[in-house]
Amino acid sequence: MSTTRTENDGKARLDDMKQGVLGEPLPRIDGLAKVTGTARYAAEYPIDNCAEGVLVTSTITHGTVTRLDTQAALTMPGVIAVIDDSRLITRAVQGTAGEAPQQAPVTVCYWGQPIALVVAESFEQARDAAKRIHVEYDASPNPSLSPDDVTPEEQEDDTVSQGDLEQAMKDAAHSVDVRIATKGHASAAMEPHAAIADWDGEELTVHASLQMLNYNISELADALDIPEDKIRLIARFVGGGFGSKLGISPDVVAASLASIKLKRPVRVVLSRQQVFQCIMRRSETTQRLRLAATSEGKLIGFGHEALVSNLPGEEFCEPVLQSSHFMYRGENRELMLNLARIHRMTAGSVRAPGEAVGMPALEAAMDMLAEKSGVDPVQLRLMNIPDKDPENDLPFSSHKLAECLRQGADAFGWDAGPRKARQRREGEWWIGTGMASGARIHNTMESRTRVTLSADGTARVETDMTDIGTGTYTILAQMVAEMLGMDPAAVRVDIGDTRHPRGPGSGGSWGASSIGSAAFLACRAIREDLAARAGVAEEALDLRDGKVGGGRTLVDVLGGESLSHEGHYKPAKAQEEYTAAGFGAFFAQVRVNHFTGETRVDRMLGAFGFGRVLNRRTARSQFLGGLTWSIGTALTEALEFDPRDGHLVNCDLAEYHVPVHRDVPDLDVVLVEERDAIASPIEAKGIGELGMCGGAAAIGNAIYNACGARVLQFPITPDSVLASLPRDSCKLLREAGAMRGLA
């Protein structure tokens, strides 16, 4: 049986259910398998006769491969083949592309681009042989490597020009006009990109580390030029994605081509350096913020421009302004996004594309406006929350920013009194606080999932949806258990397999609300069947602990039969009539070392409004992760590219600095629960990315409050703090008598 349900009927049905497990902090149902090492990741499947492949990558930036001398490699022990098929992909696929990216790797567009695959009996043989392949190139002279080198392309969809911002800046009692730069980021997932492909002559089975199998199967079929129904993709466990596994990566296609050619299974695991150098970077940005305010601090003008970069031919453009369009009031508006075409590796989706770097820049500018206007930073945000989207007049589906600001300020102990930099010291350390607003657009995607209520009273949920560490397994079990009235332990969650109905994929924070809605709709259909059997209206069906209305058991009502329905969720048209986003507020206390400019975060709090909470534990975990990335964005993470050939120099986890435990203090999360019936049938919004959409500015603003260094770049490194310290800070410290003998 199949049921198609695309829209909510407007009733908050989930709150009428009786089991009471949805929203509860259920531990992850896959947790034990993960911590005991029995959860299998892509490269870990024991497959007989599996050959090992290693990618050969380019050592020029731009040009053509004229000769691939494989002779030396092919005579090495264990080496089976060198695959230089023109179907190899040169870069990872952008999220939701659904088709192959640029193939034909003889054309080199960036340093480190995959150009061939060496296959050998052992991984070590393949890795060594890959280094012995002599490649001759016809290199193009002087490829553009820096965004400053080229004339950028304006992204017209993002351009907004309303009223007269220049005049508003002149008329303003207080204004800010500031340029802020952010460095590039890597997703830095723990599990490297990896695939095992097995062609049996009829069908290709690929175990891969991917976020969106529903798109990935189309991408792989397109790349290989074989029909989708000949392909099975499996990704039951994914060791982090953070955007880098939205689309298929070069390992997936290379392993598949090798398996088809060699008629045996082939495994390809990218090295850590290859993950960094040939998957995705978040573009660096340079941004200009213009804020014009009345004497009370009300915004009358709002300007946000950004310059980002990508390879020629790539459509993706870091959507820096995404939430700036609706974040604050201001009738005079200028927003513009520019894209520079340069020959650095592909730019794509990395952890909250857009807001992760756009919101911190905006919120740093807001802090400067707060200082200029003398308005408390929290108050300044509160007074500038728009009643409706300031650019298209759409209402908000729900809007909890004010509650997040108030509850967050309360929980943090925000001092709303007058603020002045350099007021508190402990020994060598300046102490300060800062805050920022946060926002992340909300999306849902079409999703299908099958839910089966078996005759024995247990349930099964099946979809190709992935769990990238976010908790999908667990919230699906909770959703089904809630709707069908059973212990979540009685729900088997079978996901990450393209043999199952197509889910939405994990990405863009739309996973839980989209697949959760599909599961909800499938369960609704099952409930209707059960209601008919029990002779009651579905609305009156009381399911709890495997019993119907506290009397007959489910097993009894089922009478030996199973009920199975496919839930099919399609985003409702009504969504287009609203602006939908998750909102939050960040608060941080930092200490900055007077001598060395080092910053350490003492404590940090985020308050978030994002619709229904499906699981308080995994929701909180998502925000803990977001706050941690906020610390990385604020203080440590930066991709560094060589100025001469554009290669990524800091390409491992030792030199690309994500925060370590010692950088992350006690974090506090306030969940401002709400119901957003527009956002999705289950009244939930996205959550995975919101925790890092603005948080870096709370830290940057706290650094300013602590020591008076207004650093107009992220990350804020010790050298940049020292360069921005007020020149008289030593003198001030001595006058304050803070420390003996202080220079």
Binding site: Q273, T596, E598
Partner: protein
């Protein structure tokens, strides 16, 4: 990684003998060597395993000092009661480096011999005089934020990345080296590492046919011990600047000031003139600056790492200020 033969050296002198072959490397913890082999920065055809040799003990020396065997792990050194009591600068320096997992494997001898983390040294597709003599130095006009400001040459601006040796340099420890014929020689840690000059591939005094067997620390030096490591990430990051200091102040006057610096040069930087500025003088800001002037008199930045020069000055001030406070 290229295929290699693995042999076990039966004794230190045998191990020393094996290194006569330029394609042989000794391996103990392997925390640096194996990474470099995977990248083919190191391509030995033979590894001689020395991990079971009898050099893994910490023992008292007759003069009251301490002998730390070459195979003692960093963790074992850092937690040793006498190290913690008499040489806390060493324990602190070791604990400021790497991660617990790496420290559990890394050894005294290996740590002294670890290679630079210069981005260009570790990429075999990029020119590097240290890895490929005569090919050029990519760092000088490249990404050089972590690079040296003292003792550089036009051939190489890499830094020595370790922490342990910086503390050993402040403590004036001795490196004991066994030769292939079974005889020993010793070299002060302060002289063990070399500046790059025209031979950046030569990083230390260890020659072919030699193996480090131990490091000895002098009798307890007293004083207050500091290891200050500056970095933007608070753990698992190499020093932008580090200072190891053994300081004694009596009556407001410096009576001991042994200072060594990390993150600034191709070796732990020790210059007796820096301490000499301080000795016998009353601590004040002007004096600290004078010491910093001596440290930095020949400093030269390469753009991205210019900040290390004022940062070194400020970090030295921080350590000396702290010492003065603690002595008060």
């Amino acid at each position: 990684m290229q295929p290699f033969e693995l042999v076990r050296a039966p004794s230190p002198s045998d191990a020393a003998q094996l290194t006569k072959d330029e394609h042989t490397r000794l391996i103990a913890g392997g925390t640096n060597l194996l990474d470099l082999m995977k990248l083919q920065v190191e391509t030995p055809s033979r590894l001689a395993d020395i991990s079971r040799l009898d050099c893994a003990e910490i023992t008292d020396t007759p003069d009251g000092g301490l002998r730390i065997g070459a195979l003692v792990t960093n963790t074992a050194t850092a937690v040793h009661p006498r190290v913690r009591q008499d040489y806390p600068v060493l324990a602190r320096a070791i604990l400021a480096g790497a991660t617990q997992q790496l420290r559990n494997k890394a050894t005294t001898g290996g740590n002294l011999c670890q290679r630079t983390r210069c981005f260009y040294f570790t990429k075999i597709d990029q020119p590097c005089n240290k890895r490929d003599p005569g090919s050029g130095c990519s760092a000088i006009e490249g990404v050089a934020k972590l690079h040296a400001v003292l003792g550089t040459s036009d051939q190489c601006i890499a830094t020595y990345p370790g922490d342990m040796a910086v503390a050993m340099s402040a403590l004036d420890a001795e490196v004991h080296i066994m030769k292939e014929d079974g005889t020993e020689r010793s070299v002060p840690v302060r002289d063990f590492h070399l500046l790059p000059g025209d031979t950046p591939w030569r990083e230390n005094e260890l020659g072919r046919g030699e193996m480090i067997t131990a490091v000895t620390l002098p009798p307890p030096v007293g004083g207050a011990h500091y290891y200050r490591k500056v970095r933007e990430r608070s753990s698992y990051a190499f020093a932008l600047v580090s200072v190891a200091a053994v300081i004694e102040i009596e009556g407001g006057v410096f009576t001991r000031a042994d200072l060594a610096f990390g993150g600034l040069a191709h070796k732990p930087w020790f210059d007796p003139a820096i301490g000499a500025v301080l000795l016998g003088k009353a601590a004040d800001d002007a004096l600290f600056d004078e010491a910093a002037d001596v440290l930095l008199q020949s400093a030269r930045g390469f753009g991205e790492n210019d900040f290390k020069i004022p940062l070194a000055r400020r970090t030295l001030r921080a350590v000396l200020t702290q010492a003065v406070e603690d002595a008060a």
